[in-house]
């Protein structure tokens, strides 16, 4: 934003809203990192903590909703302020969904055996790292209002799709070796799919940031990887 508002409290309310989105984003990122860690290490002790952190994220979402409604009623924001307000609403929705997906992945750790083979988790780990990096980058682009970086994240989702495909293949390969693996393999397939869906929410956030900065939506369709084309 450029100059400050003549009404200082308006300035503070907008700043407070943006800060809330940033804090919610950072909480969502930590939760995603923790849930990925729990899956890869099959760390059953951390499940409850991750589930609990989702409550915190949901509380942020309600708080942001209230802030937005107050802003709309009190200030009738225009132009950049309107876009800032609407983007906050959309970004917080996507963050909340990413939180739900992280929670869902944490829950999938429970039925996993502790001795999962390394080759099974390798691709899932790489996918998780990429999605975490994507979330980190998109939040950075929000904080710094960096259009190019947000667009880069949007384009890079193709890699998330490709890695999802590869990770799915390795789980299916493993499953085909022994039908006894069916139960936990299914959980791993869902966990993989959840990461891919988190990636989609990250691209939504990138779109919201681009709209916030330039006032127009990204044109054309996003490059898509293998999983989506199936």
């Amino acid at each position: 934003m450029s100059n400050e508002h003549t009404v200082k409290s308006y300035e503070e309310e907008l700043r407070y809203l943006i800060d809330s989105v940033i804090k919610m984003g950072s909480l969502t990122e930590s939760q995603l990192v923790d849930s990925m860690d729990a899956v890869i290490k099959v760390d059953k002790d951390s499940i409850d903590k991750i589930i609990k952190s989702d409550d915190e994220i949901n509380k942020f979402r309600s708080k942001i909703d209230t802030q937005i409604m107050t802003l709309l009623v009190k200030r009738a924001p225009m132009a950049i302020d309107l876009r800032e307000t609407i983007s906050s609403l959309k970004i917080s929705q996507d963050l909340e969904r990413i939180g739900d997906l992280s929670k869902s992945n944490a829950k999938k750790v429970k039925p996993l055996p502790l001795d999962l083979p390394e080759e099974l988790l390798g691709n899932l780990k790489r996918l998780g790292e990429l999605v975490i990096k994507q979330l980190n980058d998109v939040l950075d682009s929000y904080v710094n209002k960096n259009y190019d970086k947000a667009k880069e994240v949007w384009e890079k989702d193709e890699q998330v799709d490709d890695l999802t495909y590869i990770a799915m293949e390795s789980v299916i390969d493993f499953l085909s070796k022994d039908k006894k693996n069916l139960d936990f393999s299914t959980h791993l397939i869902f966990a993989t799919k959840n990461l891919e869906r988190a990636g989609d929410h990250i691209t939504n956030i990138a779109e919201s940031i681009c709209f916030l900065i330039k006032g127009e939506y990204l044109k054309g369709s996003r490059p898509k990887g293998k999983v989506i084309q199936q």
């Binding site: 100059n3 003549t6 132009a79 950049i80 302020d81 127009e216």
Partner: protein, 253 residues
């Protein structure tokens, strides 16, 4: 987009030494509402007063440049100003009905412009004008009562009916709702929406929300200059000019 009804080209206005408008180039479309916004003293009222040559009545005021209505220059010295003002009606910030009956407020204009020669013709004009101004139902049984006895919102609609009574092509509105409560304002805005089907409307307003609600095109003035003009939706969602953005978001120093 509708055809251009009013075109200003390099319009400059001076009040004595002080220049009030600088090279304003602005096209106003037919049967559309154009909103003019900007801080007090920015020249938006001066601009609309050029459209019906109201500035002629100010001795120290000088106008240069062009304003065309339907391609005809209206700053021409030989132009009949009375017939211009018949074509371009005006509604002011404060409702200003004549100290006459409701009926006479409406019939006065047509009479002096030689319209409505018989009583029944005048009756018809009065009824139609009041209907178009959405006031007929409220006053039809008391047309002989003084216009000044109506509520503020009704008085303003009476003034709109008075402007309509001579069958103009353009209606200029200078902050028509600033003295009205929200209900009266809503009625006027509803009326503007209806009137734009017949008339070209230019409204000066300090309410951003009102500009968004009623207009299709918005022009932003600052210190006598037209800074930006465009589709209302674009101006209020994503203006091109930083000054416009600063003004509409309340960041003006």
């Amino acid at each position: 987009m509708n055809e251009i009804k009013i075109k200003s080209k390099n319009l400059n206005v001076y009040y004595g030494e002080k220049q009030a408008l600088f090279d304003v180039n602005l096209d106003l479309n037919e049967k559309e509402v154009t909103a003019l916004i900007g801080p007090s003293g920015c020249g938006k009222s001066t601009f609309i007063r050029c459209i019906n040559r109201m500035n002629d009545v100010i001795d120290i005021c000088k106008v240069s440049g062009n304003i065309e209505i339907d391609g005809v220059e209206i700053n021409d010295k030989n132009l009949d100003v009375v017939s211009l003002r018949e074509r371009v009606g005006m509604v002011f910030q404060k409702p200003n009905p004549f100290p006459k009956s409701i009926y006479d407020n409406i019939s006065y204009g047509p009479k002096i412009h030689g319209k409505g020669e018989t009583k029944s013709e005048l009756d018809e004009i009065v009824e139609n004008s009041l209907k178009k101004a959405a006031l007929w139902e409220e006053v039809k049984d008391r047309l002989d009562e003084p216009g000044t006895g109506l509520s503020g919102g009704q008085q303003q609609r009476l003034c709109i009916a008075r402007a309509i009574s001579v069958n103009p092509e353009v209606i200029l509105m200078d902050e028509p709702c600033s003295a009205l409560d929200p209900i009266a304002t809503a009625k006027i805005e509803e009326l503007i929406d209806e009137l734009k089907k017949t008339y070209t409307i230019v409204i000066v307003t300090h309410s951003m929300a009102q500009a968004v609600r009623v207009s299709q095109k918005t022009g932003f003035f600052h210190l006598g200059k037209l800074i930006e003009v465009g589709k209302t939706e674009k101006i209020f969602k994503n203006p091109d000019n930083k000054m416009t953005q600063d003004y509409i978001t309340g960041r003006f120093g």
